[in-house]
């Protein structure tokens, strides 16, 4: 099976396409692929536990690794203790590890 890295830079509050990206990530995972959704820039806004999109991310987290860029979190005043269950913070080094993971396809959104 394949390995995918979806880098989501946008929030679902700014673009309806983002929910489609979540569905794509979840769909790939449900077909047995290894998927990491890496939230960065305004993409992390959805990860706050009180956001209306948090439930969707939490559901994704059951079959997908969901990470939130700690730099983007800090820039937006979101503490790691505010993240919805299933979303973990990660630094740029982790993103580099994923990008250079053998055979993993990266998609920038």
């Amino acid at each position: 099976m394949g390995k995918y890295l979806v880098i989501e830079t946008r929030s679902p509050f700014g673009s309806d396409e983002v929910l489609g990206d979540y569905e794509t990530a979840g769909g790939l995972a449900s077909r047995g692929h290894e998927v990491t959704l890496f939230l960065t820039q305004n993409g992390v806004l959805a990860a706050r536990g009180t956001s209306t999109a948090a439930r969707r991310l939490a559901a994704l987290g059951e079959g997908t690794t969901v990470l939130a860029d700690e730099f983007a979190l800090r820039a937006r005043g979101i503490g790691t203790d505010e993240l919805v269950l299933g979303v973990a913070s990660a630094d740029a080094g982790r993103l580099v590890d994923l990008l250079l993971d053998d055979g993993r396809k990266a998609i920038w959104r």
């Binding site: 730099f71 740029a92 990008l99 993993r104 920038w108």
Partner: protein
């Protein structure tokens, strides 16, 4: 073991957070000992223009020193300075000519799409960061 990451950028400086993110990824990859190749396409060829200058803010009455505006050419220079030869940077030649953006800091060289293709083929991974 060091690997090679190719990154394609398209955004001009001071337009979008994508530029900052791309620089952060490049910095992190270099920090881990990897090789990074940056292909600057379209507006991104202006990221390394040597003529960039920070400015004061006359509305606030603040000076250049007060403002401490970062410039993308300084960020790129810092990356070259820390890369120890592991950073390559190509500016798309036709894009440069269109914009009259040929005066660069030390480090980048002129190239074209064929160079990007060669880099993709010989890199461990390629990240394309498009404009939206």
């Amino acid at each position: 073991m060091p690997k090679t990451l190719t990154v394609l950028l398209m955004d001009p400086p001071y337009e979008d957070e994508r530029t900052t993110t791309a620089f952060r990824i490049t910095d992190a990859a270099l920090g881990k000992g990897h090789n990074v190749r940056v292909f600057a396409y379209e507006g991104a060829v202006s990221l390394t223009m040597a003529d960039q200058a920070p400015h004061p803010n006359p509305v606030k009455g603040t000076s250049v020193d007060d403002e401490r505006h970062p410039t993308t050419k300084d960020w790129a220079s810092a990356l070259f300075g820390s890369a120890d030869g592991r950073l390559e940077w190509i500016n798309c030649g036709l894009c440069v000519d269109e914009r009259g953006a040929g005066n660069w800091i030390e480090g980048p060289r002129r190239g074209g799409p064929a160079d990007f293709t060669a880099w993709v083929k010989s890199s461990d991974a390629t990240l394309v960061i498009p404009t939206h």
